[in-house]
Subunit: 144 residues, 2 copies
DNA sequence: CCCGTGGTGGGAGATAGTGGTAAACTATGA
DNA sequence: TCATAGTTTACCACTATCTCCCACCACGGG
């Protein structure tokens, strides 16, 4: 279970250390891809394979499916964790998520999200402001 | 699995390097053909054979099937990868996809798509704008 | 206070992408 | 049939970037 929040730096060589707490669970091979709200998703290879298997079942031929495939698949890269626990973030993904050097890694269930620090704090502020409203919803569906 | 996005140049001799990451998977002989949305598709020869086999089973009586065949098959060219990992892009395909020198190679499942850089960025912007549609798809396949 | 661990930074060698030159092949006309 | 011009193919060369490895520093625990 990936939980918690860490702030790390992407260095000039596009290297990003993963929090040591997650390394065992994430494994040596990961997939980074475009996520929603302009962040990046990191999946362990196992999880990714499940996803692509399901993507394969989508009806091709439809324009919006093609669009989705392009967004999700061309936006994905398989990366290897180096000897000291870092991955390389390709330029086009850095650009997509508008990452500068300070970056937040957020654990969400079975994936990790990468956010630029500024965008993250801003996003959090917005969410926290709606916390009680969210709690009410969660109550409705029986989570809390 | 072909994934990721790379920007390369087509030189004056119409040569285009393939990303080194894909070379093993693509093999030495490829097929380039007209794709959908005004880009080009590249298939490894193996994949292409599967596709033509499937196309062959389509009912020839229908006018739109004939049209699709002509579009897809007459535009196909078999190319060889040279010693440093490049292919030659024929003029008529360059023209079809309006390729200038800067070109994007996008890995989608089992094929590679070639886009002119400008058209690609424009297309991506459009797709990213459809965040709710994307979220819905992601929900369908169980990512979110 | 020392040691182990985690995050960060840098340097040397290897490699990928690109451009150019030489050779070979094709076509055309005398 | 031969010569020449134009095009294509094969080979070589350069440079920016990436990879791999090692070193450093900060921090926390014993």
């Amino acid at each position: 279970m990936l939980i918690g929040e860490y702030t790390h730096n992407i260095d000039v060589k596009k290297r990003l250390s993963l929090p040591s707490k997650w390394r065992k669970e994430l494994g040596k091979k990961l997939v980074v891809t475009r996520g929603l709200d302009n962040c990046l998703f990191i999946y362990p290879l196992k999880e990714w394979e499940k996803i692509t298997e399901r993507i394969g079942r989508l009806p091709l031929g439809q324009a919006d499916t093609r669009g989705f495939n392009r967004f999700f698949l061309s936006g994905a890269v398989e990366v290897e964790v180096d000897t000291v626990g870092r991955i390389l973030v390709p330029d086009f993904l850095k650009e997509f998520a508008r990452l500068t050097t300070k970056v937040v890694l957020a654990g969400i269930h079975d994936r990790v999200e990468i956010w630029d620090e500024n965008r993250w704090t801003e996003y959090k502020k917005r969410i926290e402001g709606q916390a009680d409203a969210l709690a009410e919803k969660l109550g409705e569906i029986g989570v809390l």
